[in-house]
Symmetry: C2
Subunit: 196 residues, 2 copies
DNA sequence: CCTACCGATCGGTAGG
DNA sequence: CCTACCGATCGGTAGG
């Protein structure tokens, strides 16, 4: 029996979505033309519309796919029988892995969502706020349980999310530091600080 | 002798620049049309060109003005007779104040710089890298002086810069927390962590 | 999947 | 500072 060929299990739509993520990330949503996208896919611009409905639809697909992945991860974390500090640490590590492994898509969801049309814009912001709220609750619970110092939980969550998001810039600099070292240094910094 | 009127010491160009910063921040550089900008200034689009050279020039002015302010601040900090940890703390507080007081312009310099034309793009990235390098040196010196824990100094600098930049999102949420509390909580988190 | 082409909108200029 | 208008480019459609 021959081995089943799984290498090219991507539909044309998948390819378009992936190329769109790369272009939206590097040039921005508005600055990316459908002609550029078509060229990067290897067809003429009108041919794209045999696989997709519109440019806006591509942005929506990317943003909601990423939001869904984060929500799913928080769902799973919340049910674990571990301390709040450990939950936050898990989330930070997951977020870092997402940044490193799905750079283009996470970047687009983080920066280009503002070009979503209504009502998706409102819906997306609602999902993001929900993620933030659930993290805030973890911090609050951790403060109550004396795991964390007293601090404003919203400030802490925003600081953590933004700090990890900073790995965007890393991709450009590309210092050759092993990813594991980056991850551990960031987790230590965000949980325990850098001052001796 | 009448009191000299200083209230409206802004040139039309200043007004245009300020409105441009607000629009570029909220809608993005490419998504902002000169017609929108004109309307927000209160003239017809072609009239803008009596005061400015091009749309690209507006973006340049904003980006390099911000870069200049940060470079100037680091110049002053480097010469102070204080510890490296204190220098980093000063920079963090300065950065926070910039985020809170010059939100639109800092945001544009942080996010829309990628739409700069060459050779300004290269020049801007050079200035930014220079700022990062000088902060890295402060962290390195602090590690050598046993003020900071051993950690990758590039990771630490990127984490700090990105974390403070996260105040962008704050503006949207607008929880009513006094700015002083935000500032102190962030400084403590970035220097000493949140775990007890 | 292509060629041909659309209406809309863009940044910017001419001329006064 | 305006009206009138330009060439270029955009997202997307028609028709095959």
């Amino acid at each position: 029996m021959a081995k089943i060929q799984t290498t090219k299990n991507f539909t044309k739509k998948d390819v378009i979505l992936q190329k769109a993520a790369t272009l939206f990330r590097s040039r921005g949503y508005n600055a990316t033309s459908m002609r550029e996208l078509a060229e990067s896919v290897g067809v003429e611009a009108p041919s794209l519309y045999n696989h997709i409905g519109s440019k806006a639809e591509l942005l929506q697909a990317i943003c909601f796919k990423m939001a869904g992945i984060f929500i799913e991860h928080i769902d799973s974390i919340e049910q674990l029988p571990i301390s709040n500090a450990q939950k936050i640490e898990r989330f930070i590590r997951f977020h870092i892995h997402m940044m490193l492994d799905n750079f283009d898509e996470v970047f687009v969801a983080n920066h280009e969502w503002k070009h979503l049309d209504e009502p998706m814009l409102t819906q997306f912001l609602g999902q993001r706020r929900s993620i933030e709220k659930r993290l805030v609750t973890m911090i609050e619970n951790g403060i109550d349980a004396k795991e964390f110092k007293k601090t404003n939980p919203y400030v802490a969550v925003l600081l953590i999310l933004s700090a990890v998001r900073g790995l965007e810039f890393w991709q450009r600099n590309k210092k050759n530091i092993p990813p594991g070292e980056i991850e551990n240094d960031m987790v230590n910094h965000l949980l325990n600080g850098i001052v001796k």
